[in-house]
């Protein structure tokens, strides 16, 4: 049904359509509206046969989901930012135990300095945890990916994170087609776990594994993600057949066929990128873009097919691998082996800084002129940084850097033209 609603509410309704049996709720901005929405659906009786548990932390949220999933219940939770780090140990545990939990991440930065706004630092911190990570480009895709996520998770016995840009998507009111229950039921069969904690067939789950088998267990986790590389496009196609629209898949290409310059990014920023590409295409520039929907597994072959012919690739990344640069670009190089494609990493939008068309266009233009550095930071206020570095040069104890910088730039901090 078409409706105009907040992204979080569309996600909550999509999750409810998947008939989750245990939902673990803990508030953290900007994810909170999702679990609030589900709480209302459960309390009002619209979502029945579901245990909605108000837990005391994100660590407990994932732990309750682990217990529930291990006993054969379809389990869901949502988190963001500090929350996903607080549950990090349990995130690894869920994938290690092969539990098909689905979790929404309302992507947000990690402090300090504390910051509630959008970037991808949180999901990136857990990229190697053995979870499938799908990034939504818009709220329709965020809605649809949840329905695909449960099916993917349960078929492969792997947990899935659906990553949704905080505020930009979670709090945006957009037109969303929330599917009908009958169609979701046709697409998503009930959860039939491979192994359960059950007094009728008592097994030991979670035993200690030493060096003699640990490598093999971890390899199998990798193997499952390689299976997911095949299954994700199939699921997107099955989804298209049932629901009549394209959503999900490994990646989305935009004018890449003849593109000499290809931009690669995750999530909602792809909308802005496409607008800039439209403008530049109208001017005759051979530029295109790839929106990576699946970051784990990383679609190396599909990406190679999409960008292998390009002269240059620019990644727009909302996370910084401190000390080296980009997470996406370093993964992406696997898809460009044997090519001399020029790859430039642009770190952008950290802590919610707006990524504007003007700034993107500047970066793309410099890339085409081959003057873009291998690693750059979009809209960095170098004057402020230099003042702080100068203070630190003069005085060893300059006080907290973040606060000093804030004082420097005054109240205009959020305004980036």
């Amino acid at each position: 049904m078409l409706k105009q609603c907040e992204g979080s509410i569309a996600i909550a309704e999509a999750v409810a359509l998947c008939r989750p049996e245990v939902i673990c709720a803990y508030p953290i901005t900007p994810q909170t509206h999702i679990v609030e929405g589900l709480g209302l659906l459960v309390k009002s009786g619209k979502l029945s046969n579901c245990e909605y548990i108000n837990v005391e932390s994100e660590f407990a949220a994932m732990s309750v989901a682990i217990g529930a999933s291990a006993c054969g219940a379809r389990a869901y939770t949502a988190t963001a930012s500090q929350g996903i780090l607080y549950m990090a140990e349990a995130v690894y545990n869920a994938s290690g135990l092969g539990l098909p939990i689905v979790m929404t991440v309302g992507n947000r930065s990690i402090g300090a300095p504390i910051n509630i706004w959008n970037d991808h630092t949180d999901s990136m911190a857990l990229r190697d945890a053995g979870w499938i990570q799908l990034f939504a480009e818009n709220n329709q895709e965020a809605t649809d990916l949840h329905i695909q996520a449960f099916k993917l998770a349960e078929e492969l016995s792997v947990p899935v994170m659906v990553c949704v840009d905080g505020f930009i998507l979670t709090h945006a009111y957009e037109r969303v087609d929330v599917p009908e229950q009958s169609k979701v039921d046709a697409f998503l069969p009930p959860y039939e776990p491979r192994q359960v904690v059950d007094p009728d067939e008592p097994v030991t789950i979670g035993a200690m594994v030493g060096p003699e088998a640990f490598m093999e267990v971890r390899y199998l986790a990798h193997h499952k993600q390689m299976q997911a590389l095949e299954r994700i496009p199939q699921l997107a196609e099955e989804f298209r057949r049932v629901f009549g629209r394209a959503s999900g898949g490994l990646l989305h290409t935009y004018h890449t066929e003849d593109a000499e310059t290809v931009i690669v990014a995750l999530g909602s920023v792809n909308g802005t990128i496409k607008d800039v590409i439209d403008q530049m295409r109208a001017e005759g520039v051979k530029i295109g873009s790839v929106s990576l929907c699946s970051f784990r597994p990383f679609p190396t072959a599909a990406l190679h097919a999409a960008i292998g012919h390009a002269k240059r690739v620019v990644t727009i990344e909302k996370s910084l691998s401190v000390g080296i640069g980009g997470n996406v670009s370093h993964n992406l190089r696997m898809a460009l082996q044997g090519r001399d494609t020029k790859v430039s990493t642009v770190i952008a939008g950290l802590g919610g800084r707006a990524i504007t068309q003007t700034s993107l266009r500047k970066v793309f233009t410099r890339a085409i002129q081959d003057t873009l550095e291998p690693l750059s930071f979009m809209d960095l206020n170098t004057a402020v940084i230099n003042r702080q570095l100068e203070r630190e040069r003069v005085t060893r104890r300059t006080g907290p850097a973040a606060e000093a910088i804030l004082r420097d730039i005054g109240t205009m901090a959020a305004r980036v033209s």
């Binding site: 049996e21 245990v22 673990c24 046969n49 579901c50 245990e51 548990i53 108000n54 837990v55 005391e56 932390s57 660590f59 407990a60 732990s63 309750v64 989901a65 682990i66 217990g67 529930a68 999933s69 291990a70 006993c71 054969g72 219940a73 389990a75 140990e89 349990a90 545990n93 135990l97 904690v197 059950d198 007094p199 067939e201 008592p202 097994v203 030991t204 789950i205 979670g206 035993a207 200690m208 594994v209 030493g210 088998a213």
Partner: protein, 338 residues
């Protein structure tokens, strides 16, 4: 292990009647040839392990109480490590180990799953050592309590992190030597005035049932597990389980040490319903704390090179306070159980 150890064929000094003299209906679960053997033989616990003994009795009693309809969440720790070195398992119950800190929350998830699946007959136990319960697992434990989730949590308290090699936990008693509270300096061993009383904190949550027990009285332990499984909601059982390795006592003296902890008043055995103490196991033959302390090398610095009268008296005062607080010498009030 030690040559001086004398083999004992029966449990002495417990004042319990031998099973054969009792009516069949009140005989211990463990004496039943058809007991479940929930924690089966062949595991890798140390000789004299109190935790292995406590877990075996507790889970067998639970399995009988719920007619085998039980699932168990286990925290990381000795109990988990010695029972499940891949590909072996000593567990004859449906058993899940997730992490160190989350057994209570995993239990909550299991109970939720059983409820939503309509399997109301299946009950849940979460269990761990004192580290996994009173320290790192405390937030999840408190959360499970306050939500009144239908889980019995059993803490096997051996008063330190034994799996990692005897480090202090918040259940480590004052003056005890551990590897992180060494017997060195002016005040050797663990400091006084620290630690937390988790049974009392559990009671403060107002949960339906809280009890302490000891491997010194295994029939009492069995009774309390049975009592707990007859109740729904969050329940807590705190079992005192000596660790000969960590405490520095003879491996044949596990039960004796546990008994002296109870009979000195250092480990009060009681039960509480909805936040009110409703029963206590009274002390039958009171002993000074010294009798208990002297058996364990973790307290050796209290006695040599010279007696530390001041700190022995401080430990005696802790026992005296427990006796007053829980009425452990009050013969008029006995627990409801045999």
């Amino acid at each position: 292990m030690t040559g001086a150890s004398r083999v004992k064929f029966y449990q002495t000094g417990t004042f319990t009647v031998g099973n054969r003299l009792l009516d069949v209906s009140v005989r211990s679960v463990q004496s039943d040839a058809d007991r479940n053997n929930s924690l089966n033989s062949g595991h890798r616990a140390c000789q004299g392990c109190g935790e292995a003994l406590g877990a075996r009795y507790a889970l067998d009693a639970a399995m009988r109480a719920v007619n085998g309809r039980l699932v168990v969440a286990n925290a990381t720790g000795c109990l988990e490590v010695f029972s499940t070195p891949y590909p072996e398992s000593s567990w004859r119950v449906a058993w899940l180990h997730s992490l160190f800190a989350n057994a209570a929350a995993v239990g909550t998830g299991m109970a939720a799953a059983m409820k939503v699946k309509g399997r109301k007959d299946v009950r849940v136990i979460a269990q761990g050592g004192d580290g996994g319960t009173v320290d790192i697992g405390f937030a999840c434990l408190s959360g499970m309590f306050e939500r009144d989730d239908d889980v019995l949590y059993i803490c096997y308290d051996n008063e330190a992190y034994m799996n990692t090699g005897i480090q202090r936990s918040s259940a480590t008693p004052a003056a005890a030597r551990t590897m992180t509270t060494p017997a060195a300096g002016q005040e050797p061993g663990n400091v006084f005035g620290q630690g937390k009383n988790v049974p009392l904190i559990a009671m403060a949550h107002g949960i339906p049932y809280v009890a302490t027990a000891s491997v010194a009285d295994l029939r009492d332990l069995e009774y309390k597990v049975g009592r707990a499984m007859a109740i729904h909601g969050a329940r807590y059982l705190h079992v005192h389980v000596p660790c000969p390795l960590g405490w520095g006592c003879d491996t044949g003296d596990t039960l004796k040490v546990a008994r002296l902890a109870a009979e000195s008043g250092l480990f009060p055995i009681f039960e509480a319903e909805a936040g009110e103490v409703t029963g206590r196991r009274t002390i039958r033959r009171r002993v000074p704390v010294e009798d208990y302390l002297k058996m364990q090398s973790r307290f050796a610095h209290l006695f040599s090179p010279k007696r530390d009268e001041r700190r022995i008296a401080m430990i005696q005062a802790i026992a005296d306070r427990n006796i007053r607080r829980f009425g452990l010498l009050d013969k008029s009030e006995q627990g409801a159980h045999p």
